[in-house]
C-alpha cells in the first residue's frame, strides 16, 4: 500500500515539476509548483515525517508561493510569457538531465555512511523539537538572528523615503522595478551611472 502511494505521489511530483518549468504562463507555473510541493508533502508524510509534511504545506505551498503569486500578479500578465524556444537552452537542459540521471543512479548506494535505524517516533513533532532544542539549539537560535538581519534589510530596502528628504521624488527602487517591468528584453537595464537627484 505504501509503495503504491509512494509511486503515485512521486510521479505526481515529477510531472508537476516538469509542468512547472514548461508552462509559458508564470501563474500556471506557480500553481504547478504548489502542486509539486503538495506531492512532496505527501511523500514526507509517507516517510512518517508528519511535521515536515505540514511545514512543507504551511510554509512552501502556503506562504512562499503566495508571495510568488503576488509578485507575478503585480508585475502584470503581459510580460510573464517567457521565451523558451531557444534550442540551445533546451539542449543544455536535456544534457544536464542526462548527466544528473547518470550521476544520481551511480550515487544511489555509493554511500559508506553508517546510518542507524530510526526510532518509531522519528519525524514526529516531539522528536523534531527535541533535537531542535538540544543538539541543534545553537543553529536554531542563530536562525533567529539571521531572520532578524533579513527583516532589517527588507524593511530598510522596501521603506519609502521620508517626505522632504533629498531624492524622495525619484526613488531609485521604483526606477528599477519599472525598468525591469518594461524592458525584460534588454537585460542591461542597470546602467553604470548615477541616477540624477530630483
Amino acid at each position: 500500500m505504501e509503495a503504491v502511494f509512494f509511486y503515485v505521489f512521486g510521479t505526481l511530483a515529477v510531472i508537476s515539476a516538469l509542468l512547472t518549468v514548461t508552462r509559458r504562463d508564470a501563474v500556471a507555473s506557480a500553481f504547478w509548483l504548489i502542486f509539486c510541493f503538495l506531492s512532496v508533502a505527501a511523500l514526507f508524510a509517507l516517510l512518517s515525517a508528519h511535521f515536515m509534511a505540514i511545514l512543507q504545506i504551511l510554509l512552501y505551498a502556503g506562504a512562499i508561493m503566495v508571495f510568488f503569486l503576488f509578485v507575478i500578479m503585480f508585475l502584470g500578465k503581459s510580460q510573464d510569457r517567457v521565451k523558451t524556444s531557444d534550442w540551445r537552452v533546451v539542449a543544455l537542459g536535456v544534457l544536464s538531465l542526462i548527466g544528473a540521471t547518470v550521476v544520481l543512479t551511480r550515487l544511489v548506494g555509493s554511500t559508506h555512511a553508517p546510518f542507524p535505524a530510526v526510532a518509531d517516533s522519528y519525524g514526529g513533532i516531539e522528536a523534531v523539537s527535541e533535537v531542535l532544542l538540544t543538539k541543534y539549539l545553537f543553529a536554531f537560535e542563530l536562525t533567529g538572528l539571521l531572520l532578524t538581519a533579513a527583516v532589517i534589510g527588507a524593511v530598510y530596502l522596501a521603506r519609502r523615503e521620508a517626505p522632504g528628504s533629498r531624492g524622495a521624488k525619484a526613488p531609485v527602487v521604483r526606477g528599477l522595478t519599472s525598468q525591469a517591468a518594461t524592458s525584460t528584453a534588454s537585460s542591461s537595464a542597470v546602467q553604470h551611472e548615477d541616477v540624477p537627484h530630483a
Binding site: 500556471a28 508528519h50 511535521f51 504545506i57 502556503g62 503566495v66 500578479m73 513533532i125
Partner: protein, 346 residues
C-alpha cells in the same frame, strides 16, 4: 475506521485494501454531508439573526417553521442557475478555485474532535494541520481572483491573501501558550487538559485570556468576516474574488466560507472553551460529547454572525495596522510572558 467496517456482517468478507478505500470514501461522504447540512443551517441562521437584529423576520415560509428549508430552496436554485463562464478567464485556474476553497475547509473537518472517539483523524499535529489547510483556501482565493480576469476579483483576491497570511501569525501566536501548557498539538489532548469543572477551561485561566481574544478577532479576519470582510466588500469590489462565479461554483465558495466559520469556531472551542466537556462533570457522558461540542461551536458562529450585523468594516490600512502593529506585538509579549511565568512557576 476500516476496522469498524470489517465488523459489519455485510462487509466482513472483503479484502483489507477494499475496506480501506471504502472507509476513505464513506468518511469523505460523512464530512461532505456535515458541511452541506451545516452550511445550509448557518446560512439560514445568518438570515434569521440578521432579521432579528434589523427587527424583521427573515425567511418565514419555505419548509414550514420559520423558513428552515429556505437554504435548501436556494441551493436548488443555485444548481439550476446558468453557469456563466467569463470569456477571457484563465479557465483551469478559474475552475479550480472553488474546489480549492472548499477542499481547504473539507480537509480541516478531518481532524475536528467531536468526541474522544468521534474524530476523523486523530493527528498528533492536529492544530498545526488546521493552520496548514487554511493555506489551501488562500490558494483558492488567489486563483479565483487571477483566473476571473476581472479587476474587482483581483483586488479582492490580493486583499484576501494578504489578510489571511498576515492574520495567520497572531492566530498561531495566540494558540502557542495553550500548546506550551498542554505540551501537545493534538486537539484531543488539548481538550482533555480542560476536563472537570468549568474553571478548567482555558478561557477562564487568566494566562490565556489575552490569547483567546486575539484568537477570536484574528479568526474573524482569517475567514473574511466583518469587520474584516475587505476581500468581498460589496460597496467597493462588487463581490470580491467570487464576482464572476455563478451557480454551483458560487455555491462552493459560499459553503466553503461557512464551513470555515465553523472550523475556526470549533478550534476556538477546542483550545479555549473546553471542547466536548460541558464544564459540569455530571453532564460529561460520552453520548453528549458531540452535542456539547457542536453547540459550543454554534455559539461562536453565532457571535460571528452577530458581529457581522453590528460592526462597520475596517479600511485596508487599518486592517494591516491592527495585525502587524497591535496584535503581533501583543501576542508576542503574551507568549513571552507566559513562558516566563511558566518557567518561574515550575
Amino acid at each position: 475506521m476500516h476496522e469498524t467496517l470489517s465488523n459489519l456482517p455485510l462487509l466482513s468478507g472483503l479484502p483489507a485494501q477494499v475496506l480501506v478505500v471504502l472507509a476513505m470514501v464513506s468518511a469523505g461522504g460523512i464530512i461532505l454531508g456535515c458541511i452541506a447540512v451545516g452550511g445550509m443551517f448557518f446560512i439560514w441562521s445568518e438570515r434569521k439573526v440578521a432579521g432579528y437584529i434589523q427587527s424583521r423576520y427573515g425567511p418565514m415560509y419555505v419548509g414550514g417553521w420559520h423558513g428552515v428549508l429556505q437554504s435548501l430552496a436556494d441551493g436548488v436554485k443555485l444548481l439550476l442557475k446558468e453557469d456563466i463562464w467569463p470569456e477571457k478567464a484563465d479557465k483551469p485556474l478559474w475552475r479550480m478555485a472553488p474546489l480549492l476553497v472548499f477542499l481547504g475547509a473539507f480537509l480541516s473537518f478531518v481532524v475536528l474532535p467531536f468526541g474522544p472517539n468521534f474524530v476523523g483523524a486523530n493527528l498528533d499535529i492536529g492544530l498545526f494541520y488546521v493552520m496548514a489547510t487554511s493555506s489551501l483556501v488562500v490558494m483558492g482565493v488567489i486563483s479565483a481572483g487571477w483566473g476571473s480576469n476581472n479587476k474587482w476579483a483581483l483586488y479582492g483576491a490580493l486583499r484576501g491573501a494578504a489578510q489571511v497570511i498576515s492574520y495567520e501569525i497572531p492566530l498561531g501566536l495566540a494558540l502557542l501558550p495553550v500548546v506550551m501548557s498542554t505540551g501537545s498539538l493534538n486537539l484531543g489532548t488539548i481538550i482533555q487538559a480542560q476536563a472537570g469543572w468549568i474553571h478548567n477551561w482555558h478561557l477562564l485561566n487568566p494566562l490565556f485570556f489575552v490569547s483567546f481574544w486575539i484568537y477570536v478577532i484574528s479568526s474573524l479576519a482569517e475567514v473574511n468576516r466583518v469587520p474584516f470582510d475587505l476581500p468581498e466588500t460589496e460597496s467597493e469590489l462588487v463581490s470580491g474574488y467570487h464576482t464572476e462565479y455563478t451557480g454551483m461554483k458560487f455555491a462552493f465558495f459560499f459553503l466553503g466560507e461557512y464551513a470555515d466559520m465553523f472550523v475556526v469556531s470549533a478550534i476556538g472551542v477546542t483550545v479555549f472553551l473546553g471542547g466536548w466537556y460541558s464544564g459540569i462533570p455530571a453532564l460529561d457522558v460520552p453520548a453528549l460529547f458531540p452535542l456539547i461540542f457542536i453547540l459550543k461551536s454554534f455559539f461562536l458562529v453565532f457571535v460571528q454572525i452577530w458581529l457581522r450585523w453590528t460592526l462597520p468594516r475596517l479600511r485596508v490600512d487599518q486592517l494591516m495596522y491592527v495585525c502587524w502593529k497591535v496584535f503581533i506585538p501583543i501576542a508576542l509579549a503574551n507568549l513571552l510572558l507566559y513562558g516566563v511565568i511558566r518557567t518561574v512557576l515550575s
